[in-house]
Assembly symmetry: C2
Homo-oligomer: 213 residues x 2
């Protein structure tokens, strides 16, 4: 069965949020993926280093099977979350979707459209307070499924979500073959990615004061 997958792009996006799930979903047999922005054309990441191309604008996309909403840097979110046109589009697309999904702070964009109220959702560990402001219960799980909503934790969690979605859509055998084709046998050099064990004050201070967000 042919499936249409739509990935939303916006200025200030975090590229891996979008590319993580895209890379597995793009390998599904009989799927097409479309990158969609508020307007067609180049969209820049929050750090300014990379432009991704939106091949369609939201007014031209009226339905899809799978919606993927990535997160972004603070300024990008600050412009996108209150955007009523984006909220309307997300609600319309969600009305006909089989799965509505998010990576990282993409859950806040879904939240702003009212979609996750009363549900459990994952998000970046730094966004759990923001999530509560939309009436959404923070889940510390890497990927959370609540109804047809699949949400994932920060940035890199979209890879895990993508493969889980592949299994839902095409079965475990196909998902495992896709995982092999992506050689996804992760070996992080440090044990520092889980905020429950890694979020020492020193590391958080480094993030706040030295690193780019």
């Amino acid at each position: 069965m042919a499936m249409k997958i739509t990935i939303f792009l916006f200025d200030g996006i975090t590229a891996l949020d979008a590319i993580g799930p895209y890379e597995s979903l793009a390998r599904l047999p009989n799927s097409t993926i479309e990158f969609v922005g508020k307007v067609k054309g180049a969209v820049r990441t929050g750090d300014g280093f990379l432009a991704l191309h939106a091949d369609a604008d939201i007014s031209s996309v009226r339905e899809t099977d799978i919606l993927v909403v990535p997160g972004g840097h603070r300024r990008g979110l600050a412009a996108t979350i209150p955007d009523l046109e984006v909220q309307d589009w997300i609600r319309r697309i969600d009305a006909g979707s089989r799965w509505t999904t998010s990576v990282c702070t993409g859950s806040l964009i879904l939240g702003s459209a009212g979609l996750l109220a009363g549900r459990r959702a994952s998000t970046h560990w730094r966004a759990k307070v923001a999530l509560a402001q939309f009436g959404i219960e923070y889940s510390a799980d890497r990927v959370t499924i609540d109804g047809k909503y699949m949400t994932s934790a920060g940035v890199s969690a979209g890879l895990d979500m993508g493969l889980k979605l592949c299994a839902e859509l095409a079965g475990r055998d196909v998902a495992e073959a896709i995982q092999l084709s992506m050689q996804y046998d992760p070996q992080p050099p440090f044990d520092a990615g889980d905020p429950a064990t890694a979020a020492t004050a020193d590391r958080v201070n480094l993030i706040e004061n030295v690193l780019r967000q």
Copy 2:
């Protein structure tokens, strides 16, 4: 110390090969990242679903501190590997680089420029025979360091390589904070990413016959 990082883009690229290391390197303090193509402008992934933007062309980039060469789909590689202009540019950039790196079949592009001959390198598990044709010894490690060359296994291995490179460039504390900011605590849904344990005939047949490459 300011660092210049250059990521090579070409038509037929695998997006995650480039975005995996980009996402950690972009968080380094005092770094700039430039995406460079043979010509400036949009470059499309091998599946055709996504365009990434090259902000510069290779003739305008004469030196860099860190070169990252991603891999790609077969047709993209078939056009890029024999390209003498690309080979010349890679050799020139490598002559002044601090690190020359690759993800997935990017090692074949480095190999075509003669850079890895006689060295050990990682690549996608399906490309180990091709690697040998350039006189390069295949390493099954996820990330391999040989001199100033850092190479990684297929597609998703660029995330692990990026963090390792961050540690080399800015120290372990910074790399760990970057890992936390990316929430890189991978939880693959299946144990299917390692070809040494997962490459059953069934899965490889699925990749050959059903999935997009």
